[in-house]
């Protein structure tokens, strides 16, 4: 639990990165949300054995992190945190799909391994893009942008509350779990029975806490709408940002660049 607690607290720092003052931070959130969506759709829409064509897409996270001054090591750490989940999804592919697709000398690589690697690379790319989006825009900004792009306000507010609730839940959970560990000497007290009671208490406690937070929000004039600092305009810079990146993603999606370079090099050598 201490591990999760620390990880979540660390995750909160992501919102702090969004207070940066680079040109990318200053862009209207809608532009960044649209580009991220186009990026994710491009990456996800490849067929399941595609691997090489995915690599050029790393240019987007690399450029955005550099322009937005995001710490690469920290961002990589956040992505690694999600990787086990991707692996859990893909780990059975090599078992089910054993047909050899690539012959590297004496080694045959089965389709299962390729699709497994493809799932992992795709999750690194998509999760990375999402985390970079939060780091450059902040979660409230993203919710606001989604609302401006036509998502019903109720959903946008729900999303924002869900995000806040994660932190409330883990904070309370961390405290409850610490109290239990300190009073359970050795194995006793760590039984399933005490665990179920802990979980149910956790639900009620976070509920009460969430209610108090909501109360504090209402007391400060919250009416279901949220506002984010300076209202930004979707202007020429935003349009340029969206068009350039979308064009790059679509080109990369339609044309396998590594393969193309390979063919050109081979042709020059022959």
């Amino acid at each position: 639990m201490r591990y999760i607690d620390g990880a979540v607290r660390d995750f909160k720092n992501l919102d702090l990165l969004a207070t940066g003052e680079t040109a990318i931070h200053r862009l209207d959130a809608r532009a960044k949300v649209i580009v991220t969506l186009v990026f994710i759709i491009s990456v996800v829409s490849f067929n399941k054995y595609e691997l090489t064509a995915l690599f050029p897409f790393f240019i987007y996270p690399a450029v955005m992190m550099a322009l937005g001054n995001l710490p690469a090591g920290y961002m990589a750490g956040k992505i690694v945190f999600v990787l086990p989940f991707a692996l859990a999804v893909a780990i059975f592919n090599p078992l089910f799909d054993q047909q050899v697709m690539i012959q590297l000398g004496p080694f045959g690589i089965s389709g299962g391994w390729i699709s497994c690697a493809s799932v992992v690379v795709r999750s690194i790319l998509t999760v990375g893009a999402a985390i970079i989006l939060v780091g450059l825009t902040g979660f409230p900004g993203i919710c606001k942008a989604l609302e401006q792009l036509g998502m019903p306000q109720v959903f946008a507010v729900q999303l924002l509350f869900l995000y806040r609730y994660i932190f409330v839940l883990t904070e309370e959970g961390g405290r409850a779990s610490r109290a239990r560990e300190l009073r359970s000497f050795g194995e006793k007290g760590l039984s399933l029975a005490s665990y179920t009671s802990l979980i149910s208490h956790l639900l009620l406690r976070t509920w009460q806490r969430a209610e108090r937070i909501h109360m504090a929000m209402l007391a400060r004039g919250f009416t279901g709408e949220f506002h984010t600092g300076q209202p930004k305009q979707f202007g020429g810079r935003e349009l340029f940002f969206v068009i350039v990146w979308s064009a790059i993603f679509i080109a990369l999606r339609l044309q396998n660049i590594p393969q193309l370079i390979g063919t050109i090099v081979m042709r020059m050598l022959s």
């Binding site: 806490r209 109360m215 929000m217 209402l218 007391a219 004039g221 919250f222 009416t223 709408e225 300076q230």
Partner: protein, 258 residues
């Protein structure tokens, strides 16, 4: 200036589980007054406070804040007028940075751009927390959190400041600083507290709640001299009014007797 008046008439509140938290409370607090609401645990202090900005709805009775009766239609105006600082600052600070948190109220009031900056700057300056503006709230000490929580409310320019247990959880120095800060505010102030020494120093008027009803309402010093009443309401005199633990001489009382 009638808009700073709090007028509560025969307020009753029964929770959904049947607990009668308030049983006919009537209070009138006028402009610029500093009033303490004290009482043992579970006597309805917090319930009463939560009525003041319309979070709880009265089972019966009426509340008027200034010119407005508290109804659903007047809620936004009343929530701007009544600034409420909650007991646990962690509940009040929920945005990524101190700046965002203090700006939350003004943004909800419809302010934009430099106006928001101005409000946030002023509010943080007033509580002596201007240097904390870029920090995330969870990295602050207890005293700093309390100051920022007060700033979040001041940024909305309330006319009436309501605080639940302002000094709880603060170290002696932090408590002293906060009291100094509160002394400088010329708002109508309503506190609940178990810190009776603070009450003695900051609030000329005290209301004792006992079992959901008002047991006493009057000048603070008078109430704290009535030991029988205090005992009946599960309270005791502030430490500064009790005898010295070594010689048992009561400095404050001897002053008053002269």
């Amino acid at each position: 200036m009638s808009h700073h008046i709090v007028d509560i008439v025969d307020l009753c509140h029964t929770y959904s589980d049947g607990t009668e938290a308030l049983r006919g409370v009537s209070v009138r607090i006028t402009h610029g007054e500093s009033v303490a609401i004290i009482g043992a645990n579970g006597t309805g202090k917090s319930t009463l406070l939560l009525h003041l900005n319309g979070y709880l709805t009265a089972t019966s009775g009426t509340i008027r804040i200034g010119d407005f009766p508290l109804t659903k239609g007047t809620l936004p105006e009343i929530r701007r007028t009544v600034g409420m600082v909650f007991q646990d600052p962690d509940d009040q600070l929920f945005m990524p940075t101190v700046y965002d948190d203090v700006a939350f109220g003004p943004l909800n009031l419809g302010l934009v751009g430099t106006d928001v900056d101005q409000r946030v700057g002023d509010a943080l300056e007033r509580v002596g927390a201007a240097h904390l503006r870029t920090k995330p709230p969870y990295r602050l000490s207890g005293g700093e959190k309390k100051r920022v929580a007060i700033a979040t409310v001041l940024a909305m320019s309330p006319d009436i400041l309501v605080m639940d247990e302002p000094t709880s959880g603060l170290d002696p120095y932090g408590r002293r600083q906060l009291m100094q800060l509160l002394k400088e505010f010329h708002h109508t102030k309503i506190f609940t507290s178990h810190d009776l020494d603070m009450v003695l120093e900051l609030c000329p008027r005290t209301i004792i709640l006992h079992r959901g009803m008002i047991a006493a309402d009057g000048p603070t010093e008078e109430i704290f001299l009535n030991t029988a009443l205090l005992e009946e309401c599960h309270l005791e005199q502030p430490l500064s009014m009790q005898g010295c633990p070594i010689c048992n001489r009561n400095i404050l009382l001897s002053c008053q007797l002269k």
